[in-house]
């Protein structure tokens, strides 16, 4: 990945020498940025809703081009993600032990209509995300802000008292408890400014009032979204967006196979395009056979965690030795091959994933590449389960997931554990895996955190409060000691101290073996030959749209 970025920089530098065209150093400092051209993004999405209240967009993709937030993510290849100020001057100042957070806006910020961005616009943007008609977005803040549980948005005329705007440039958030990761929460789409006078909840997502480098020129749902420059955006106030292309076109409803084929052929306007969807195993194999296309492939460093959840509240799996036996019995090498091989991921041993600050590498159950069957058998014997242990495995009903499940099944069979695979379609799978009443022993699960903090790796998957009711503690793991550690790490406002606590929680959880970490997934994306500074970091495993430019 580093080599690809470096190659891009050299290519641009060479072009500049030949053409003598103007350029600037990228605001993000990641590459020299050409200005001009139309960047095309091929996406299978049939709709692009730009309403920040309804969005689950990553900070570095679509909405990040149009809507700035209080804070945002600085994503670079080969480095852990960091939170940085966006509209605010800092990533927030905590007080009251982390229960109150204050932000001050930068000078001279303007919307695309020329009006000033004020703290009232941020407050209104957050408030409208509580409206029943604007559900569907990232909602971590809703349970953290005082009074959030009973608040239903500003459309009925009420305001949320826990957000104060003492001046047009400052905003204060009062939380129900200390929360050290509030700077990350303030980077979510709902923390974008929305001018109340321009808000119509039914249509705002079609053409929001831009605060970022681009504004909507046209938005034809199902066909194309075209963005053009917002002349009121100032590069001086923005450290993460380089705004290279003059315009950006999202071509919607693109069949992934056809889009990949277009990019491989690299003809016409696809030279200045990239695919928003990661390549499947078949497309990846096709690209790998074509050296010219392969040179334009960006593969993420190992990132999101795939794991085998062991239902800790069910039958034999209540016994720690049985769970430890599964840690040793699973054949992770076979699992990785079933996932698509080395291009699809790396073997995992920790819960906090690579690319997340503070991660400590360790392996509590060293079993070699394909498991330690002997050790697994001895642990089963110790638990009185030498023979006849039979478990059900909940899995998504698609070819890749079934192949992965069979790899698990065959791996543990070597230790005498019989696994029955229970495939379910996507909606049923997630409903059953997160239901209050669990009807499975094992579940093949994966997790892509919503923000790049260890908190997002650990708390949603292992806190006792996250069991059932649609929540993601699929292992149904409950340990008061770990809950206390999570609470302590969550409240810690010092990032270094918090990271140390999360790393401690990571190991402590794995001592109880509620899950078998299987792989850190990799994702590959293809670009046209004119797209520069195209990279995919560990987290998020998607290209950074904010730093792209086009070769002349």
């Amino acid at each position: 990945m580093k080599n690809l970025t470096r190659a891009g920089i050299i290519a641009i530098a060479a072009t500049l020498l030949i053409t003598g065209c103007s350029s600037t150093t990228g605001a993000a400092g990641t590459a020299v940025t050409n200005k001009g051209g139309t960047l095309t993004i091929l996406t299978p999405s049939t709709k692009i809703d730009l309403d920040p209240a309804k969005s689950q967009n990553l900070a570095i993709t679509t909405l990040g081009l149009i809507e700035r937030r209080l804070t945002t993510w600085d994503i670079r290849a080969g480095r852990p993600a960091t939170v940085v100020p966006d509209l605010a001057t800092t990533t927030g100042t905590p007080s009251d032990g982390g229960k109150t957070w204050t932000f001050t806006l930068k000078d001279g910020l303007k919307f695309a209509d020329g009006s000033a961005i004020t703290s009232a616009d941020i407050k209104y943007g957050v408030e409208r995300s509580f409206s029943d008609e604007l559900s569907g977005g990232l909602s971590y803040h809703k349970s953290l802000l005082v009074g959030g549980a009973d608040y239903h948005g500003p459309y009925s005329g009420s305001a949320l008292a826990s957000i104060e705007t003492p001046s047009p440039k400052s905003i204060v958030f009062h939380l129900t408890g200390a929360y050290g990761d509030w700077p990350w929460i303030a980077s979510m789409p709902a923390f974008s400014p929305v001018p109340q006078a321009k808000d119509n909840p039914a249509t705002y997502g079609q053409d929001p009032v831009a605060s970022g480098p681009y504004k909507v020129a046209s938005n034809k749902q199902g066909t194309a979204l075209t963005l053009t420059r917002n002349t009121y955006w100032s590069a001086k106030s923005d450290t993460v967006r380089v705004a290279g292309p003059d315009s950006v076109v999202f071509r919607m409803s693109q069949d992934p196979s056809t889009a990949a084929q277009s990019l491989i052929s690299d003809a016409g306007d696809t030279k200045a395009a990239f695919g928003a969807a990661f390549l499947g195993a078949a497309q990846l194999a096709q690209v790998n056979r074509d050296p010219a296309a392969k040179a334009r492939l960006a593969t993420s460093q190992a990132g999101p965690l795939s794991y085998l959840a062991l239902n800790t509240q069910r039958g034999a799996l209540k016994n720690l030795d049985v769970r430890k036996a599964l840690e040793y019995a699973v054949d992770k090498k076979a699992y990785l091959i079933a996932s698509g091989g080395a291009a699809a991921g790396e073997t995992a041993t920790t819960l906090i994933t690579p690319g997340i600050a503070g991660r400590q590498a360790y392996d509590l159950y060293p079993a070699g590449a394909d498991g330690d069957v002997k050790k697994a058998k001895s642990l089963l014997a110790k638990a009185g389960q030498s023979s006849g242990l039979s478990l059900t495995l909940l899995v998504l009903n698609d070819a890749t997931s079934l192949a992965k499940a069979q790899a698990i099944q065959q791996g543990v069979q070597r230790a005498g554990i019989t696994v029955t695979i229970a495939p379910e379609d996507e909606n049923s799978f997630y409903s059953d895996a997160t239901a209050t009443d669990a009807n499975y022993d094992l579940a093949l699960y994966s997790w892509q955190p919503d923000f790049p903090s260890a908190n997002s790796n650990i708390q949603p998957l292992f806190a006792s409060s996250e069991i059932g009711d649609g929540r993601n503690n699929v292992a149904r793991y409950s340990n008061p000691e770990v809950d206390a550690l999570i609470a302590m790490a969550t409240a810690e406002v010092d990032q270094k101290a918090a990271q140390a606590l999360w790393a401690k929680a990571d190991k402590r959880i794995m001592q109880d073996a509620p899950v078998v970490p299987l792989s850190y997934a990799k994702q590959s994306f293809l670009r046209g030959s004119k797209v520069k500074n195209f990279f995919v970091a560990s987290f998020p495993a998607y290209p950074n749209y904010l730093t792209l430019s086009l070769a002349k």
Partner: protein, 332 residues
Amino acid sequence: MRTAGFVAYRIAGMLVVLLAIAAITYAIFYLLPTNPAQLSCGKPCTPENLARVERFMGYDLPWYQQFWDFLRGIVAGRTYGSGAGAVTCATPCFGYSFQLNTTVTDLIVSRFPVTASIAVGAAAVWLVVGVGSGVASALTRGSAIDRGIMTIAIAGVSAPSYLVGLLAILFFSFTLHLLPSGGYVAFGDDPLQWLGHLALPWFTLAFISGAVYARLTRGQMLEVMGEDYIRTARAKGLTERRVVVRHGLRNALIPVVTIFGLDLGGLLGGAVITEKVFSMQGLGALLIDAVHTLDLQVVVGFTLFAAFLIVLANFAVDLVYGLVDPRVKARV
């Protein structure tokens, strides 16, 4: 008077069929072990957030009440939520998609031109090519032309549309760079681009369906051309062209008209695979997306619309019979 009674009887029957289809679709979705509100719940989806969404969308009500509200919305419109943020769905309200933020009626109206462009164009091509080659094949029975046409027809009947579509894209778009690989441009925006984007879908559908029409027309023509009245027509000294067109083809077309009506009606309700392969956002693509995302209101509204088209096509076929075959007209 007899015709008016026939029409009234058929319309009443159509309404009963449509009501039954809506009820069955609603019941099927209600019986699914999943919750559509969960997809609009946000992340993390806490029980409080889920309850809010269910209440707002009306999914907290029993299925029969949801169905009743749906039917009432068709004649009286609906409002979801209250205050400045309330969502209004005007009469006739066939539901509201909370995932696409628009009424089902508007969705169908906006997507229909895409599907209609595909369906009508493709139908015209396959009808002309299919019937024409079927007649040519019948009139040259046993010749190289006949064998050639029937070989192509067998290939067309056997080939799945996604395969033909992808091969067409590979050849005409990626190899020859003659036509775009997908997407849709409205006729009003650029007629030439509209034609260019539709050429491959038309070819794909026409290749598959035209093959059926060619085989059917050939079979019918061979049968009809052997009838006594054809011999009589020839004996009366009519030109061969008049014999073939007026006496042969007109009779051979009766079953073709039946199938054509149903095919066109079905296709207007969405060319699902073709739309997906050519990245076109027509009604078929809308339905597939709605099923995947459990967008119940879109599925029910769309199913009603598609069923309406089929029922209407049946009705139209019955009326056209009268034009093609005077014997039918006498019985209506």
